[in-house]
């Protein structure tokens, strides 16, 4: 009898599963999880950082809500927002009104901009019976000040989740939940390292899908999917192409259509790092498991929070971090890629561009809306950018 040898998972199978999960706007996977977990609840998380372990420890599944992409037609959502605001809140309202978000029992709005902050109020109006949480971040990063503030915020949120039919977790339950999120963080870092070392194995359009798939999965299941993808990509036999290595910066909230990411790749830009699906990589280190769990989460954010336009800073450190990332990832250029009307990203851009200029790093910029369908101009601009690096840098 032949012995069955276990090889790497088939890449197309992993991608098919990731694609189905990433496109699960109706949250069928979440409904299935709730059915399998009697009493389990689901907490929608708008873009930005939120420690999913706090929700998990209370019996809630954190579910990343990142808008409707190019699959939701906005009809009623426009009535809730001014025309000069970004697209994500409109499609999210549309999804809420259309029943897409019914499996959610609550929603948390991290403080990344005024629009997201105010969404907690809109959600309360739409669903007065459900939980609505505004999650504020400290602007003082001194552990004695900002650290205490953040710990109090986490305690407040934990209490709200526990009171709303969940359970009050003890330290061991919190540690178990933190460990699960650490697995996810570790798997995301492994994927990131592979992209930096052998970017031709991991197209950004695939990395985007497998990370986004985690929006509707428990952390440990998502970590397993990410590990499967890494093994499959390593065994794919893909060969390097005559492309330029770039960082993609500015897409930390409203996500670009996948067609835009493919267009950048077709334009000769291989993305070695980005801030897509930012919530999964907002902490650049694992949260320690010993000691005070909530205090550890707060301290990890203060000390190892990823630089982002959605995080307060007053010392120019974001620009320095961008240059450092470009150096460590051996990026030959930076593509600033932000949603239209994204205040944090667009207000930051001039200082980040200046830092690139001073460091001699070529850069270009494009803007998008989550349902953009035409990429010809992006292709031309990004293609000319990659040409200029290939020919002259």
């Amino acid at each position: 009898m032949a012995t069955r040898v276990s090889g790497p998972p088939a890449l197309d199978e992993v991608l098919a599963r990731a694609g189905a999960l990433a496109g699960d706007l109706e949250l069928r996977a979440v409904a299935a999880w709730k059915e399998a977990q009697p009493g389990g609840r689901a907490l929608g998380v708008l873009p930005g950082w939120f420690p999913g372990e706090v929700a998990r420890a209370c019996g809630w599944l954190p579910v990343a809500v990142s808008g409707g992409g190019d699959r939701v037609d906005i009809v009623r959502g426009d009535a809730y927002y001014q025309s000069y605001l970004c697209h994500l809140p409109r499609s999210t309202v549309e999804m809420a009104l259309g029943g897409f978000l019914d499996p959610l029992d609550g929603l948390v709005a991290p403080a990344i901009c005024d629009v997201i902050r105010n969404f907690s109020g809109v959600w309360q109006m739409l669903h007065p019976e459900k939980l609505s949480i505004y999650f504020d971040f400290p602007q003082d990063l001194d552990p004695a000040v900002g650290g205490q503030f953040l710990r109090r915020e986490l305690t407040r949120i934990l209490s709200a989740l526990a009171e709303r039919g969940g359970r009050f977790p003890g330290p061991e339950e919190l540690r178990a939940a933190i460990e699960g999120e650490n697995w996810r963080r570790s798997a995301v870092r492994t994927l990131g390292n592979l992209r930096a070392e052998k970017p031709w194995l991991v197209p950004v359009s695939e990395a985007f899908l497998v990370v986004r798939a985690g929006a509707v999965l428990p952390a440990e299941e998502h970590a397993a999917l990410l590990r499967d993808y890494v093994r499959a990509a390593e065994g794919s036999g893909r060969r390097p192409r005559d492309d330029v290595r770039v960082l993609l910066v500015g897409a930390f909230c409203e996500q670009p259509p996948i067609g835009l990411l493919r267009t950048l790749e077709q334009a000769g830009c291989v993305v070695v790092d980005d801030d897509l699906n930012f919530g999964t990589r907002a902490l650049e280190a694992d949260v320690p498991l010993d000691g005070d769990p909530l205090g550890n989460i707060a301290r990890t954010w203060l000390e190892h929070g990823a630089p982002s336009s959605a995080r307060f800073e007053s010392d120019g450190s974001r620009a320095a971090a961008l240059v450092a990332t470009a150096r460590s990832r051996r990026a030959q250029g930076v593509v600033f890629c932000a949603p239209s009307f994204c205040s944090p990203a667009l207000l930051d851009r001039p200082s980040l561009e200046r830092a690139c200029d001073e460091a001699g790093i070529p850069h270009t910029s494009v803007q998008y809306v989550e349902n953009t369908g035409q990429f010809q101009v992006v292709r031309e601009l990004a293609g000319t950018f990659s040409d200029s690096i290939r020919l002259w840098s």
Binding site: D242, Q266, A267, G268, Q374, Q376, V377, R379, E380, L381, G383, T384, S386, D387, S388, R390, L391, W392
Partner: protein, 285 residues
Amino acid sequence: MSPCRRLRTAGVDLGSSAVKVAVVETRGNGEPLLLASEVERIRKRDPRAVADALFRSTCAAAETEPEALDYVATTGEAQGLPFETGHFFGMTTHARGGLFLVPEAAAVLDVGALHARAVAVAPDGRVLRTRMTGQCASGSGQFLENIARYLGVALEDVGPLSLRARKPEPVSGICAVLAETDVINMVSRGIETADILRGIHESIARRLAQLLRSLEAGSPVVITGGLAADEGLAAALAERLAADGAKTGVRTHPLSDRAGAIGAAIWGAVRRGRMDGVPSCEAVA
């Protein structure tokens, strides 16, 4: 002097209405020499099949076996053709091709079937700055082709007719759809065909002048792409720039429609040199 080598390369530019192919040789003095170039309109055929056939016929005209080429560079929509070595994007290739045709050019204005693109170019062909029209078709060749069809005028007659206009009729400068409605109204009002065409040219020229202004383009500007052969458009653009107070000369070249393919072939030689670690003579020059 740095060592360099002689390279024979091809450029294939697949546009939305025509295919252009060029074969170039870079020699010891660093000057690229155009061995052959051809253009073929697609006319509802399979564009890739047209590109394949034209590539082979241009190689034959240059007395070169396709397999003997050092680099086959595609541009435009030709990415992924089976004989491609690498791909360069339109603004990169038109900049270099425009400079090859008009060596004193400081900017290139590529007016194709669907887009207009302005590129400020350094003396060595490097792209300095770029501007593109958006998704609107009213500054493009396809728009002009539609108008010519409505008017029953052959494309090659559009420019000479426009130059004979006595009283140009203004059309909408904002939208191709509105402009086409304008034209239908003009025909029914009995406006002279030459005056209609001149009005269209002036409308396009306004958009192109705006593009050049936003680019802060130097002088002269060389027009490339399918509309470069339209002398009526070149005249309207020169007049528009002068009226705006810009001291920008406008040039065209008989081979302007092939600039993308020529530029691709030249950059292919540079890229081949960089990939092999031995610069082409073009790169050294």
